[in-house]
């Protein structure tokens, strides 16, 4: 431990702690911009400058280590002037007329910083470095004119996701963050995961909005508009309306979407339960018939795009199950359309997802097994919040709403799909009971919960033996597992992989900010919902039993094959 003085207050911290972190202990919040906890500390933007006695120059607090006897001043005229200068330089190269129309308006770190530092005029005017807008992908828009070159996106893409789709290109005034050869994200091996959106402090990376298309469908009297939402949405949407992270807002969300004018409200969770049945059957079949093992989950479209680009040889390891919302879309336009007597042509399916990659997924040509697009539009959690605000709905004042039958019933096993390890836990609950016919005493598989990058478990299942499983989240961890499959050291039966660190609760479409603490709180909300539900095993969902009786027949049967399963495409490395 070392003791230092910050603004006259003594503070004790571990050696190696930065001044920035030490200052928090005495309730001093030093402003930052390029710094990103858990991801990046590079001392580049010079917004966090402080005066350290004995050093001639001001020092960036985000990288300067605390040491014994250090005396630090975080707020004097010299520091104020220097920080202001750093921000004024950024502001002077920024399209300042754009705030009112910017997707990040009111949620922008640069706006907040300019306000916190009391910037009231732009001192430097002149040519701006400009840049292009890349809106070619179905998921992500990059607006370089707003980029402040903090590199947070570059670091998350390279270090956390190991994709490196973007990097700093060129030099000096013409420096840009973009893919090689100035290509569009749409034309490179970007997974469209949107983790770069979550870390961008400004409006330079955002999702491609589909809000207007959805409003048009809602107000088109000839359309029957169905909405479904993924489990992770209800664990985070509240943050957009001022609730603390980890508040479950299922009831209010359901009331809100009904007020928006959707005709039916279904739950992606229903299809999550269905996924467990289909994927579980596929796994048993592979184990019994000597199919390709380990089998890997396929419900995370960013992960799918990753393996298609980087490990096309390993595609046979993927389960052929579509992701749950695609399944639900397909069933809405077949099973439900038939039941309700509605022409599937008139049905519009909108998915609210924590995910930007799912915008891409729903546009994949193979996602139309019924002859109609499974899902017409994917909107993110953030977009749903925007729609609720646009409609003038007082979210906090809403009574609890409900899901509609027959595609709205779900179990606790489905709802934990939103957290890393959830799919595995749900699968294990069902596998153990279905294979053995015995009732599980303890439904909580703690070994696959939590934020460790790679989690493993061995579960004895009567009649099969020891089932070895692994769970990975974040593409960096996925890559490690893929390398082990390649060199033959991954002797698992089943692997769950989620593209986003923490799983869907911190997907690229979720409210910002996201950090490990928030990941934990959102996941907790889902485990709590699971605990409170009467039915916690997918195979006990009565609506699932019914759909097999009335419509699907068998798991892996003819209908399932057409509607619920899919195929993959090997894509280029670059």
């Amino acid at each position: 431990m070392v003791t230092l003085t910050i603004d006259g207050q003594k503070v004790q911290v571990e050696e190696g702690t930065t001044i920035l972190e030490a200052a928090r202990k005495v309730n001093v919040r030093i402003p930052t911009l390029c710094y990103l906890p858990e991801v990046q500390a590079i001392g580049a933007c010079r917004v966090c400058l402080v005066e350290v006695e004995g050093n001639r120059n001001l020092q960036p607090a985000c990288v300067f280590p605390a040491s014994e006897g250090l005396v630090v001043h975080t707020n004097n005229l010299r520091v104020r002037r220097a920080r202001k200068f750093s921000v004024e330089m950024i502001v002077s190269d920024h399209p300042m007329d754009d705030c009112l129309t910017c997707p990040r308006n009111q949620k922008c770190e640069l706006q907040k910083l300019a306000d916190d530092l009391g910037i009231r005029e732009v001192k430097f005017t002149g040519e701006k470095s400009g840049g292009q807008i890349d809106d070619l992908s179905p998921s992500i828009v990059r607006d370089q004119t707003k980029c402040i070159l903090c590199r947070r996106c570059v670091t998350v893409c390279k270090e956390v996701q190991t994709v490196s789709a973007i990097y700093t290109q060129g030099r000096g005034f013409k420096t840009r963050v973009e893919p090689a050869f100035g290509r569009s994200l749409n034309d490179v091996s970007c997974t469209l995961c949107g983790q770069c959106i979550l870390v961008c402090p400004v409006g330079a990376i955002t999702e491609k909005e589909n809000i207007e298309e959805v409003w048009h469908a809602i107000f088109d009297p000839s359309k029957f508009v169905v909405i479904q939402d993924a489990p992770a949405v209800r664990a985070a949407l509240g943050e957009e309306f001022g609730y603390p992270p980890g508040t479950l807002v299922t009831g209010k969300m359901l009331a809100a979407v009904r007020r928006l004018g959707f005709n039916r409200v279904f739950d992606t969770n229903f299809a999550a339960d269905l996924t467990i049945i289909e994927e579980g059957s596929e796994l048993l079949k592979r184990i019994r018939e000597g199919g390709v093992l380990p089998m890997i989950t396929s419900c995370s479209p960013g992960w799918i795009k990753f393996i298609e680009h980087f490990y096309p040889d390993l595609l046979p390891h993927l389960s052929t199950c579509k992701s749950p919302h695609q399944m639900l879309g397909a069933l809405t336009k077949t099973y439900y359309a038939e039941k309700a007597g509605i022409d599937p042509r008139d049905i519009v399916v909108v998915s609210v997802m924590p995910c930007t990659a799912k915008k891409f997924e729903c546009s994949r040509p193979e996602m139309a097994g019924s002859g109609y697009r499974d899902v017409d539009y994917v909107i993110t959690t953030r977009e749903l919040a925007k729609m609720i605000r646009q409609a003038g709905i007082d979210f906090a004042g809403l009574e609890n709403g409900y899901y509609d039958d027959p595609l709205g019933e779900y179990t606790g096993a489905a709802t934990i799909f939103g957290a890393t390890g959830g799919v595995m836990e749900a699968a294990l609950r069902t596998a153990c009971e279905v294979a053995t016919g015995k009732t599980l005493e303890n439904l909580d598989f703690q070994a696959v919960r939590g934020l460790d990058g790679i989690k493993e478990a061995v579960v004895p299942v009567d009649g099969i033996g020891n089932v070895k499983v692994a769970v990975a989240h974040g593409l960096g961890n996925a890559r490690k597992i893929m390398e082990r499959i390649k060199d033959g050291t991954a002797d698992y039966h089943f692997i769950e992989i989620m593209c986003c660190p923490g799983g869907c609760v911190s997907g690229g479409g979720q409210p910002v900010p996201v950090n490990d603490e928030i990941r934990r709180l959102r996941a907790q909300a889902l485990y709590q919902e699971d605990k409170n539900l009467k039915i916690r095993k997918s195979h006990e969902n009565p609506s699932i039993k019914r759909i097999y009786e009335e419509f699907l027949g068998q798991p892996l049967g003819e209908k399932s094959h057409h509607l619920l399963h899919t195929k993959y495409t090997a894509r280029g490395r670059f």
Binding site: S164, Q169, G170, A180, F181, V188, R573, F574
Partner: protein
């Protein structure tokens, strides 16, 4: 003044790929060799073709975006093939004041390229330089290693015909 172009057949770019492959193989998997390998490629090809950057990326295990990032950061790498002759217009203060910029504009128009680019037939690449130390001769233009003094647009045409 002698034309410096050699009389042999123009280099066939295809023939260079096995050579760069060999260089990359010597450094396979070594990310630290990036700048050195790019350097060798630049000398071999006269520029860094996209295909070469992809080969370097795969060979050294450096993501393509990063290879390109390094290639565009350092001024000695170029993304476009060099012409057989390099025109450099001096834009040091003296040359600038005496009309260097006008010559640049005239050349851009006449050759149909921007500064930093190469003509389609690869005859010329056009570049600017900062002060070549010929201020008394301003404005100065260099073609390869030949210095031309007090150039004006009319004189430019006369000069260029000497270089095929």
């Amino acid at each position: 003044m002698e034309n410096q172009g050699c009389s042999c057949a123009p280099i066939n770019e295809e023939d260079l790929y096995p050579k760069i492959e060999e260089i990359i193989n010597q450094h396979r998997g070594n990310q630290n060799a990036l700048i050195m390998v790019l350097h060798k490629a630049q000398n071999l090809f006269g520029y860094l073709p996209g295909r070469v950057q992809e080969m370097v990326s795969l060979g050294l295990g450096v993501p393509l975006s990063e290879v390109y990032g390094v290639a565009t950061f350092y001024a000695f790498f170029s993304m476009v093939p060099k012409g057989r002759h390099e025109i450099k217009v001096c834009l040091g203060t003296a040359c600038y004041v005496r009309g260097g910029q006008k010559i640049v504009e005239y050349l851009e128009k006449g050759l149909g390229v921007r500064v930093g680019d190469t003509t389609k037939d690869r005859r010329f690449s056009l570049n600017e330089v900062r002060c070549v130390g010929a201020c008394s001769l301003a404005p100065a233009v260099l073609v390869n290693d030949d210095v031309y003094a007090q150039v004006d647009p009319a004189k430019v045409d006369e000069i260029l015909v000497k270089y095929e």
